[in-house]
Symmetry: C2
Subunit: 379 residues, 2 copies
Amino acid sequence: MPLQPHMKLISVDDHLIEPPGVWQDRLPVADREAGPRIVETEEGQQVWSYQGKLYPTLGLNAVAGKPREEFGNDPTRYDEMPLGAYDPVARLKDMDVAGVHAEMCFPTFPRFAGTMFLEGEDRGLALRCVQAYNDFLIDEWCAAAPDRYIPMTILPMWDPELSRIEFERTVAKGARAVTFPENPEPLGLPTFHTDHWDPIMAVANETETPICLHFGTSSIRPPHASDAPFAVSVALMGCNSMFTVVDLIFSQLFHKFPKLKVAMSEGSIGWMPYMIRRMEDTWERHRFYTHVNLDVHPVDLFAQHIYGCFIEDEAGLKLRHDIGVNNIMWESDYPHSDSRWPDDRKLLEEAMADIPDDEVHRIVELNARELFHFGADAG
Amino acid sequence: MPLQPHMKLISVDDHLIEPPGVWQDRLPVADREAGPRIVETEEGQQVWSYQGKLYPTLGLNAVAGKPREEFGNDPTRYDEMPLGAYDPVARLKDMDVAGVHAEMCFPTFPRFAGTMFLEGEDRGLALRCVQAYNDFLIDEWCAAAPDRYIPMTILPMWDPELSRIEFERTVAKGARAVTFPENPEPLGLPTFHTDHWDPIMAVANETETPICLHFGTSSIRPPHASDAPFAVSVALMGCNSMFTVVDLIFSQLFHKFPKLKVAMSEGSIGWMPYMIRRMEDTWERHRFYTHVNLDVHPVDLFAQHIYGCFIEDEAGLKLRHDIGVNNIMWESDYPHSDSRWPDDRKLLEEAMADIPDDEVHRIVELNARELFHFGADAG
């Protein structure tokens, strides 16, 4: 039994639904009307209001435990969601049921990379909202069980210098990761090929705080027929992570910031052996005229800087040595529809039945502990 | 030695450069001025002229045998290209040098899927140009060695009924495949999710003539930073084939046309095990609300209808059983920059050293013979 009882599952991609008080409990009184607050619609839905606009993304895809036949409609009220979606203590019980020890949660209303706060005219309010989310995340959500929640924060990314300050502030109070868009350009921001993000990357590099890029956070979807069934879009989402990995590997980022680590979130791993070889082949054959680094092989950059994770991925596990056993982590995706909850541990045990114990331990627990400096001494 | 001397290499993705006479030798006299003809520019380049416009795509990427340090500039004159790029008899010698028995060539000036002839006002001329290319391909190029060239034709795709007629005409005179865009929508044409292409698909289905979808023929490139080095675009091109496979698998095409076979050209195979499982998982979890076929599993549709090919692809060969050994073919890509010419057979032999003989034979020769009904009795 390669997945042994003493090995603790650490999931590196989960999602929390913000409870109503995240901003209302923390913003100055003068900000509370314009800041994020829950509004009841005439149709009986609960939606977020922010700077005068309504956002009906309350329970985005929080369907864990529902029968598959009922997928397709997001919950529109807190009382339609599992309590564990928005309550960190109830979440621990759901984690226990599924055999999951620790989780790292992405935000929902702020969007997975915090890009919601690029919207709205009032940048001062937006900054206070970013700070309030981060304080909630560290002081309330993760504080409910510091050994079971990895704190990942967001940045005021309209301003790299403000981002640097907020990044340093949150790392000082315990943040172990930061979420960032997989490609900033479709959001109207400079690309990873500019120096624009250097203040942020420098903090990540110096404090060894990984940057987590969740698929879909660029706001774009892989191209497909506009009248294709929604299943096409679902199946292709991992391609976004491919676009990002290739963009990063052929950028100057890892040459400028040699300790920078990037985790691809929900992008899966089964395509990595193919893409690593494809990048290597591209580099071997085309490096002389394409203005890329001529000294370091893509395969070595990947090994040093890129991490992937999976829910289920037979191909990726079979070819784990071509990815790097140290570069693979596991994720639950609770409470979204791709989560296997409450069968997480059982299915993972079956999926890893043929993998040596030490490799299983690295993948389910030790890689995440080391990458996120998360209780390594508790391993 | 799994790749044994009696196994003949059949490449299913190569490229020919049209010699100057393809259209001038075949079009009626009145068409010759407006039809495709070679023009010398003041800068000493040879370019195609068609319906009053100049197209500087003469020798697109025809660099086989050049040192890699010289990649990046396409040849601009016939005399800068290897003779085998545009002469079918000289090509045979190049194939012999590399140990390649047979090839299937995509067109260059008409673009890989014949979409050039969507341009221009004169549709009558365009149709005669399509017919002239197909006649050249069958009567001149492939006729130079009918047992070594698989005839693949193009269609007048602005009109599905004209396409049906031309498809039937060319199949009757020996065509064994047709090239088509991987996604017609970015070209301003209806998608694979409509009934628009049924006349073409019906011919493919009834005559068991595979449709070949070369990556890039949709005219789009996978999304990446606009200021990324060109290497990013090169490395990501296989994603186009992923988009297409997922679009097709979740379409109604294979349910309407159960004998339809689709070959993905130059898209490689290493991503297929991942994407097959991803489609299967998407179908298992999300089929109830996404308007896809509820009865047939994606993994079974793939096995019945989709073929891939590779130049070098370690991941794909390792996981060949998860793709289907009967669904994998080999390609040379001569004379483009990804071709290994003249080392094709030598490198393939090394890459397949650990694969059983019978599987090697299927992959390098027998699958192509069966799929394209190409001299199966000569095997």
